[in-house]
């Protein structure tokens, strides 16, 4: 219960940061990427502020043996620069450049009650679900053929 409530409060901080920074505004994000046109450098300040705080905070947090509420830290261990990582990132970047929505920006935008944000998130969840279904099917076929 404590774990869930605290996650909700941390989510509030995340959503407030996204909303106040302008990351929930697709027009602003698209203008950041439009170097040759209506460039708005604000997004660099979002990334800069977020990275600075996270890099310093992680240094202290990850020195501890374990997090306050859990038995261990859940950190990604893979170090491979493989096709899913790079291909998936390129595909994500293309989608982000089309609409200006990314997952972390779009979820708080739902709270603004805008139809476009809800449409994006619905399609994005369908995309994640479809990608996972495809991957599971491919892996099953690979094991059957092996």
């Amino acid at each position: 219960m404590q774990r869930t409530l605290l996650a909700g409060m941390i989510g509030l901080v995340f959503g407030a940061g996204i909303a106040l920074s302008g990351m929930a505004n697709p027009a602003k994000v698209l203008n950041f990427f439009d170097l040759a046109g209506t460039w708005d450098p604000s997004l660099a300040f979002v990334m800069g502020g977020a990275l600075l705080v996270t890099a310093i905070g992680y240094r202290f947090v990850l020195k501890r043996d374990k997090p306050v509420l859990e038995a261990r830290f859940h950190l990604p261990t893979s170090r491979k620069l493989d096709l899913p990582l790079l291909g998936g990132s390129a595909v994500f970047g293309i989608g982000w450049g089309i609409s200006g929505f990314c997952p972390g920006g779009a979820i708080p935008a739902l709270g603004l009650g805008e139809v476009s944000a809800w449409a994006f998130v619905g399609a994005m969840l369908a995309g994640i679900f479809a990608a996972r279904t495809i991957r599971v099917a491919l892996e099953q076929r690979a094991t059957q053929n092996a």
Partner: protein, 142 residues
Amino acid sequence: MTEFTPVASLFGGALIGLSAVLLMAFHGRIAGMTGILSGLLPPMSSDWAWRAAFVAGAIVAPILILGVSETAIGYQSPVPMPWVIISGLIVGGGVYFSSGCTSGHGVCGMARLSPRSLAATATFMVAAFLTVFVIRHLLGGF
């Protein structure tokens, strides 16, 4: 045009960073929206409760802010609805395979100097710059 907002963006960015530090300190988790959402789709992961709470908090925050100031949050989606939906499908497929997005790779992973996150972030940023250039300046925009 959107207004350049260095102070609000830096402050908002710092709050995003603060949430990432807190989620690692208390839950030992990366504050990446892709990973958090993935565990909420069927079949839901057993630890769905904290994920749902984080997402709910992220959605409620702008509502609370708008209650205090109606002008604090700008929003404009300049792209036609069919393209918003197409982009959603593309983004969903992409972030599933890349195992992360701007928050997971771009903030948390970069802050840990993870080679995978550095490569992912460079790739999706370049892809987004190129996509906007092609759409707005080669194809004439929407």
